[in-house]
């Protein structure tokens, strides 16, 4: 029965692992190698410079600003997005009032419609979302300030993306708006797989909505939440934050570096300033931050698995 088991496994793993090594691991090694050179990205010539790029990194104020902003993204966005998504998903699936003759648990009225509405932003590419919000934030003729004027708050006309104190939060709000729907659907799927008898038992015992949520839904959904947490954190550190910052707070990442994030800084160094080697150095720092983030979340989130 077990004859040739290992050969079988190795046979299956060689190709994917080979591809993984070639397209994922190897570029990492290359990048780390380039971070020790003075490669400009515009000519094939470069020489080794040792730890010069890393010393420069340590003394680079803009790098520290971008690191701080990236960390803010990673710390603030996941709890807000996931918390909001959990609330909405719970209301859609479990939070409804019990109706006569209906199923024991159900969502609020019109929940299937809400599910579609929440998922809507997912259909739009992040670039389009960012552009739309850039228009909405226009202090002169944008939707938000026009609305404020419309309701008689003409004296409150913030500059939004033009204000260093607000710009970063404006950008984060857009990311929450555009990603929350995905998690609503993800958590809805998770909640659907929780057996209904657990809820029935809780209801018979007279549990309130809050108790049901914290004692039944959340623990049984924990794995999904944790994965979502890691995923959202990586999104916030990487691709999505780049897109919104690059498109919305155009130029160099907001007024007075108020929205510069690490990915944007990598891009600017590599493709604007012709300092590809330094860009890979920032990339290495980003790698470290991302791995640390994932490790911390996995560690904090570890708990007994519940079987059902």
């Amino acid at each position: 029965m077990h004859h040739g088991k290992y050969r079988f496994i190795v046979g299956f793993l060689t190709v994917p692992l080979g591809l993984y090594a070639l397209f994922v691991v190897w570029p990492f090694i290359q990048s780390i190698y380039y971070s020790f050179t003075d490669w400009s990205g515009l000519s094939p010539e470069f020489k080794m410079v040792g730890f010069d790029n890393y010393t420069r990194l340590v003394h680079d104020d803009i790098f520290w600003k971008s690191l701080w902003h990236s960390l803010l993204f990673a710390l603030v966005l996941p709890p807000v997005t996931i918390g909001l998504a959990l609330f909405l998903a719970f209301m859609i699936n479990v939070g409804g009032r019990r109706r006569k003759g209906g199923p024991v648990i159900s969502g609020v009225r019109g929940s299937s419609f809400y599910k579609i509405v929440y998922f809507f932003p997912q259909v739009l590419s992040i670039a389009i979302v960012a552009l739309l919000f850039a228009f909405a934030y226009n202090p002169d003729s944008g939707a938000i300030n026009s609305l404020l004027r419309g309701v008689g708050l003409g004296s409150v006309q913030p500059l939004w993306l033009g204000d260093p104190g607000l710009a970063l939060w404006c950008v984060m709000a857009v990311l929450v708006w555009s990603t929350v729907g995905f998690f609503v659907v993800l958590f809805s799927a998770g909640m659907a797989s929780i057996p209904a008898d657990l809820y029935e038992a809780a209801l018979l015992d007279g549990a309130s909505r809050a108790t049901t949520f914290f004692r039944i839904t959340l623990p049984l959904l924990w794995d999904t939440v944790q994965s979502g947490w890691v995923y959202m954190g990586i999104l916030a550190l990487g691709a999505e934050s780049f897109a919104v910052v690059q498109i919305m707070t155009t130029g160099p990442g907001g007024p007075d570096y108020s929205t510069t994030v690490m990915v944007l800084y990598v891009y600017q160094k590599a493709f604007r300033d012709g300092q590809a080697a330094y860009a890979t150095t920032i990339g290495v720092a980003l790698l470290v931050v991302t791995l640390l983030f994932a490790a911390v979340v996995m560690r904090l989130g570890r708990r007994e698995r519940l079987e059902y």
């Binding site: 033009g162 799927a189 493709f271 012709g274």
Partner: protein, 516 residues
């Protein structure tokens, strides 16, 4: 990477068109739509080995692109291809173009479009019927061409412009560009008794130099920077363009009473402000003040002329003469507000006429003026203006047919091609003249008049092409932008900017230049 020619021509393009875009557009979407499902659906089964692997794949998927694309275009190839043999130099062919060699021309497809270049390519093909010309236009200059520079296989002529412009300073310091002196010394296309260099507008040749004599860049367009306004709107206020700052404040006050803001500018890109602010500094304190700033001399920004001009601009903010919300507007939004008559003046360059053509009303009567000064004690007369080359064309040092690239430029610098450009895109070219006999648009006409009035008082500050990050991010956004939004005072702005300039002067990873 092998050394067969097939690989050389295909691989770099493959890399250039896929991976950099992958970072910007496809990978965020790719991640957004595929991997979360992978993570999400396995999770209810628990954090097994399987999902752990999947998560690390997801991790890799997201964090790798930033790095892998960089190394993907790293220098993995050998040297460039064989250069084309030079042809025989004759009267018709003074640069000695090989008439059978292929010539490749990559154009930035921006505000000026590509038609003018295509027209010039047709002339090249007529002159060298046996040569094959490969012409392409793109907005992604850097992502398509950076890998080819790394492979040592760049095209023969490039319009290195736009948001993805490759850093000229780096290209020059890494010996990637060809010296264009042979082109400048060649006879002009129209008149064999004149050298190309003698047909150009003042300042063009110097702008293409960095340190010393070689000329690395041929700027083809000629841009007039200054204060742009609607003559009609100004007339309706019963005012002339103000020559001193007191007059400027008076005009703004008058406009304010009519509900019109005095100024607006690209608040998200405050590095448009220098288009009128720098020549004002030059006018007030003399040319040497700007030269000292360009040379990154210590305390260059602490000159009294800088202080006077900063305070003058700050007064616009303090007196409420700047359109409300301006710091949150980008260039298009501010130009639109200005074209709608919400603001009187905007600092800009002559491309604004083409760029805002669809929002500028027909009877707008677009005009440009040299900046107002402080008062009669200014060092230079009213009319002192910033004008300089735009659309930088380069011939790479490793091009296979550099003579062909230069010949194409020589054709573009002929009177006929220059006129063609001016008619089609409403901008002047580096060719001096070529505006007689064609009907000029209002903005262009006013630009030509401003140049005539300026005479030799044309300034050309170099920060924006020598030190891009310093000019745009640091001076522009963190200095002037913050000051004009009222968040720092002129004194603080000067202190900050001087600090940035000192930082740049000390930074050994940046090549430094000086006015000759």
């Amino acid at each position: 990477m092998g050394s067969t020619s097939g690989e050389h021509t295909t691989t770099p393009e493959g890399i250039g068109t896929t991976s950099p875009e992958g970072v910007g557009t496809t990978s965020p979407e790719g991640v957004g739509t595929t991997s979360p499902e992978g993570v999400g659906t396995t999770s209810p089964e628990g954090v097994g080995r399987r999902s752990l692997i999947k998560r690390s794949v997801a991790l890799g998927l997201v964090s790798v692109p930033t790095m892998s694309f960089l190394s993907a275009c790293a220098s993995s190839g050998g040297g460039g291809q064989e250069k084309a043999k030079a042809g025989k130099k004759t009267k018709q062919n003074p640069l000695g173009v090989n008439d059978t060699a292929q010539m490749e021309f990559v154009l930035f497809d921006g505000g000026f479009g590509k038609e003018y270049a295509q027209d010039a390519v047709k002339i090249y093909q007529k002159d060298f019927p046996k040569a094959k010309v490969k012409f392409s236009a793109t907005q992604k200059i850097q992502s398509t061409l950076q890998p080819r520079f790394n492979q040592g296989n760049p095209p023969d002529l490039i319009d290195n412009s736009g948001a993805e412009q490759m850093d000229m300073g780096v290209l020059v310091s890494r010996n990637q560009l060809a010296d264009l002196t042979p082109l400048l010394d060649a006879p002009s296309y129209d008149d064999p008794s004149k050298k190309v260099r003698d047909t150009l507008r003042p300042g063009i040749v110097e702008m293409g130099q960095f340190d010393g004599n070689p000329v690395w860049i041929m700027y083809y367009a000629y841009t007039v920077y200054g204060v742009w306004y609607s003559q009609k709107l100004l007339d309706s206020l019963d005012e002339k363009y103000p020559e001193t700052w007191d007059e400027m404040l008076k005009v703004c006050e008058k406009a304010k009473k009519k509900g019109i803001a005095g100024w607006t500018y690209a608040g998200k890109y405050p590095y448009y402000l220098p288009f009128s602010l720098y020549p004002m500094i030059g006018k007030v304190g003399g040319r040497e003040v700007l030269d000292a700033i360009d040379n990154l001399e210590p305390n260059a920004w602490k000159h009294p002329a800088v202080k006077a001009c900063f305070e003058a601009y700050y007064e616009l903010y303090k007196k409420g003469y700047v359109l409300k919300g301006t710091p949150g507007l980008d260039h298009i939004q501010s130009q639109t507000a200005w074209a709608q008559g919400k603001a009187l003046f905007i600092p800009n360059g002559s491309w604004v006429e083409n760029e805002s053509a669809n929002v500028i009303p027909a009877d707008f009567d677009l005009a440009v003026s040299a900046p107002s000064g402080i008062d009669s004690s200014d060092k230079m007369p009213f009319g002192t203006i910033w004008a300089s080359g735009g659309e930088p064309f380069i011939v790479p040092a490793k091009a296979q047919n550099p003579q062909g690239g230069m010949e194409q430029l020589r054709i573009m610098l002929s009177e006929a091609s220059s006129k063609n450009f001016t008619t089609k895109v409403k901008s002047l070219t580096a060719f001096n003249g070529g505006t007689t006999g064609i009907s000029l648009t209002p903005g262009l006409k006013s630009g030509v008049a401003a140049l005539e009035k300026a005479g030799s008082n044309v300034l050309n500050p170099r920060l924006q092409d020598w030190y891009v990050q310093l000019e745009k991010e640091k001076i522009g956004v963190s200095g002037l932008g913050e000051m004009m939004a009222g968040r720092i005072t002129p004194a603080e702005a000067i202190k900050r900017i001087q600090g940035f300039a000192d930082e740049t002067a000390k930074d050994t990873s940046i090549k430094h230049y000086k006015h000759q």
